[in-house]
Amino acid sequence: MGTAHLASVLDTPTRVELFRRMLRIRRIEEEIARRYADQQMRCPVHLSIGQEAAAVGACAALRASDSIVTTHRCHAHYLAKGGDLRAMIAELHGKTTGCAGGRGGSMHLFDPAAGVLASVPIVGGNVPLAVGAALAARQRRRPDVTVAFFGDGALEEGVVHESFNFAGCHRLPVVFVLENNLYSVYTPLDRRQPDRPITAFARAHGFAADQVDGNDVLAVRDATTRAVAAARRGEGPTLLVLDTYRFLEHCGPADDDQLRYRPVGELARWKERCPIDAFRAALVAGAELDETVEATFEQSIADEIADAFAAALAAPAPAPETAKDGVHA
């Protein structure tokens, strides 16, 4: 394989499309935040604002037939893999048209048709599911790869290391994408884990690792592309450590810098490295993107968002008597 698959040599339409996907996720989550006070979305929301490059870059390296398994902070992954926007917004509104018919809320987004296998809100609990999906691909002789998205907190969970061990032992076609946003809720990484390279966990379990700037969508796409190709060739898993940062509070729609759990100035420094602003600047500098094109993106995204919210608000709530249905398959 040459280098044609790498983002660094991608053509302009593909690069601009990566930008549009990040912009779309940002605008969708901004609208969720803006409307949250209306109290029509009556479930917790864990927004990914600031972390869009990780989701878009990683999912851009996948085929439609590949799967992802994600976490409580699942909106960006769901959208980046092609999850249906209307079904997502309806789910946040607890409506029958939601992807889970209103039974899951924002932490249980899934869309099997798009390869969004499941979102799991117990930290680390999604990782073995991805390994199991990879095991099934191996058993059924399918060429599919599964990606597990998780955060730095999941490294503290035993089940993640159990999953690493098994995937490494059987060289399963799974890619572990760790978004290190430096905090577990309000607690910084250095108070939870010793100072050592996270990538060493992969070596300890007998597989490869890579660490890239998680706010650089091209770097993420390149690293994931290499990892996915290796997995498809039967070379086993890769751990990708993506350094990134959450701009808003852990759970909810607001800025929380006033709580002072982040060092003064840290948030501002990371905002200067906003994945969308940085990539926009690069595309504009290369004359690949201009204001007119971006304005058309903004308009179509705004239309799509307005449509999804209108549909969600208009959709029926599930009837109370259906709550008992579907306990057993």
Binding site: A118, G132, A136, H328
Partner: protein, 366 residues
């Protein structure tokens, strides 16, 4: 062989052999079925229940698992979501406690929380230990923990035929089914249909008929209860004895009907009596047939302390047929003179055999 000829020639198997036969049959007819377990391919083969399977089906379908119960339970769920049908085996219930997170948060809920779009068809086989001083963390019968969770089905066979048929039913089920196999039931023998016929996971079976008292037992306690019921029958006390078999979903229709006739109920848990399966049965019967009750229902089960290892400490721990018979006799309106002798005779017979090994009479065939 024609059906009639087959039924004339009973084929006697132990429950352990029946479990292995069911597993092999399911793997033969559906290549999505595979086994995962710590020791599944080792020389002991989970008490013989998986012996020979890896030689026949290969290591990809009989997978030796690392010592990582929550991890490989999640892996099984992920594979099940992609259409596979894993059978998970734990040599003791206690190891599955490490996997409660995946079992309760993911397996039990994913069908419901996906609006019915996801299925997690997996079978979790758990072995309940007993005897020979295995003590507090190798002898627990924790079926009530699993039965508490909506979305799980929970099964406890007490016979070789049920061990095969209920396991096949569990494998065919499209959701997660927990099968608790009492270690001493593994030894129980009986006629087992050679054909792989799945039993519906739909309710209790009457194993003795009587009009004086309704008794509901689970798993190995059914064997103790049979002994008690047969002794009492000789004394003129008719026990309507049910083997509960399927704990969740719990179908108490036949039990309620029975209590409407007998007016009396005794439950016998394999696990602890408090917060146990019997407590749920009693609650349902009281709720539906309160007016029929002629005495307060009695619960028999393990006492309020962990299982001690020492034989002297464990002596009074497990309910046995003589005590069960006395509890039943005290509940019915028969004069003690009619039941004392049979209870005492049962006690002498049981005392002749050490408590910490399976009683030879429980090998059947039943």
């Amino acid at each position: 062989m024609p059906d009639a000829a087959r039924s004339l020639a009973p084929r006697i198997l132990s429950a352990a052999d029946a479990i292995r036969e069911a597993t092999a049959a399911a793997m033969d007819r559906d290549d999505r079925v595979f086994v995962m377990g710590e020791g599944a391919t080792d020389p002991k083969g989970i008490f013989g229940t998986t012996s020979g399977l890896v030689e026949r089906f290969g290591p990809e379908r009989v997978m030796e698992m690392p010592v990582a119960e929550n991890g490989w339970t999640g892996i099984a769920i992920g594979a099940a979501l992609m259409g596979q049908r894993p059978i998970l085996v734990h040599q003791r219930v206690e190891f599955c406690l490490l996997a409660m997170e995946q079992l309760v948060n993911n397996a039990a809920k994913i069908h419901y929380v996906s609006g019915g779009r996801h299925r997690a068809p997996l079978v979790v086989r758990l072995v309940v230990g007993r005897g020979w001083g295995q003590g507090p963390a190798h002898s627990q019968s924790l079926e009530a923990l699993f039965a508490h969770v909506p979305g799980l089905k929970v099964v406890m066979p007490s016979s070789a035929a049920d061990a095969k048929g209920l396991l096949l039913g569990a494998i065919e089920d499209d959701g997660p089914v927990v099968v608790l196999e009492h270690r001493w039931v593994h030894y129980a023998t009986g006629h087992v249909d050679p054909a792989p016929v799945a039993m519906a996971l739909d309710g209790p079976r009457r194993v003795r008929a009587g009009d004086d008292v309704t008794v509901v037992a689970t798993s190995y306690m059914t064997l103790e209860a049979i002994q008690a019921a047969d002794a009492l029958a000789a004394a003129g006390c008719g026990v309507d004895l049910f083997d509960l078999r399927v704990l969740r979903p719990l179908n108490t229709d036949a039990i309620v009907q029975s209590v409407r006739r007998t007016g009396r109920l005794v439950t016998i848990d394999t696990g602890h009596a408090s917060f146990g399966i019997g407590a749920e049965v009693v609650a349902r019967v009281v709720g539906e047939a309160f007016g029929s009750l002629r005495a307060a229902p009695q619960r028999i089960g393990l006492p309020e302390h962990p299982t001690p290892s020492a034989r002297s400490l464990a002596e009074a721990y497990y309910p046995r047929s003589p005590g069960i018979a006395r509890t039943i006799a005290a509940l019915v309106d028969l004069p003690p003179t009619r039941t004392t002798d049979v209870c005492d005779a049962l006690g002498r017979e049981r005392d002749a055999v050490p408590l910490d090994i399976p009683h030879p009479s429980f090998k059947g065939p039943f």
